[in-house]
Amino acid sequence: MHLLQVSQLQKKYGNHEVVQNVDFHINQGECVALLGPNGAGKTTIIKMILDINKLTGGKILLNGKRHDQMRKFIGYLPQHPTFYPWMTGRELLIFMGGLSNIERDILEERINELLKLVGLSEVENQLIGTYSGGMKQRLGIAQALIHQPKLLIMDEPVSALDPLGRRDILELLKVIKQKSTILFSTHILHDAEELCDKMLIINKGQLLVNGSIHQIIEQTQKPIFIIQAPRLSEWTHQLMNEDLIESIELTGNAAKVRVKNIEQGRDWLLSHILKAQLPIQKFELVQESLEEIFLRMVKSS
């Protein structure tokens, strides 16, 4: 049985479909990245799993069970955690733990452990209002873990941080990952690649890819011809309308050309270069990087 099973998930605001028929599942111990550009519907999906937003259609099951029970088993870190600025870090953890019905003495012990884990032990009695963004995020992670949830869900945990804070949180998440099942959303491929083994790429509310990074590269990677030459833009302009060509991307004096068929495409491109007497400096066949796959998918959807 999957830990989290999402099937045919739908969300509409009026006639606007924000999430369309999304299917995926998460197994115990996995770390899954929910990847997509801003506005793709990541937060909406997360909020539906958490029962903050209501579903328009579909089902969300945790351990094969229904929705009402979910909150107990999920730890959640919101996108912009504000908390109460007038509480201290420790008080917030006591408050959140109390809301999850944890016994006071067990709670104290767990808070000490968590504060140590996220590195906030020294500032536990300072007001949250005085915390930096990174500290708030770490406190957010601590409060999400306080009831020892089966699944930890984080919405853009590192997006709002400076490079240093981001590094900190990513390292912390690597530690947490070893013991917990994690689902986190991000619009930055690099974070997903660094932390997770599984990815869900969504755009405009639709699930484009679902699988391990390895799998994604293997299944969806396409070859690209890289052609480098001066005065390339005129030449590429002529290519635009050809049937064989899927897309052309021009950066400086290099062009990335995707073709529908490699054999035919290579012959055709070479002959065309000869015909145009293009003084090429480079003609190369490469495989797409993960980032290129991501960008291509998001663009074409």
Partner: protein
């Protein structure tokens, strides 16, 4: 009942116990508000403005500070304070 028209020393003596509680209450509000303002992590302009309100406007000044002056920071934290309707989109 006798209403005195001139205020004399002994009459001030009679007034004092009545006015004393007001004075004490005011002093408490006044000092708590000022101490809080000084501790607050805010711009100097902000502190001067509210400091003036607390000092110059008797009784009401500190209360205005508690109700309105302290809101700023707690209401506008790091999160986007846009209209709630916008927030719901991813």
């Amino acid at each position: 009942m006798h209403y005195g028209y001139h205020i004399e020393i002994d009459e001030i003596g009679a007034w004092l116990p009545l006015l004393l509680p007001i004075l004490i209450l005011h002093l408490i509000l006044f000092s708590v508000a000022l101490v809080d303002l000084l501790k607050r992590d805010q711009s100097t302009d902000y502190k001067w403005l509210w400091g003036a309100v607390i000092i110059l406007v008797n009784i009401i000044g500190p209360i205005l500070y508690f109700v309105l002056g302290r809101r700023q920071r707690s209401d506008a934290p790091t999160s986007s304070k846009s209209t709630p309707k916008k927030v719901r989109k991813s």
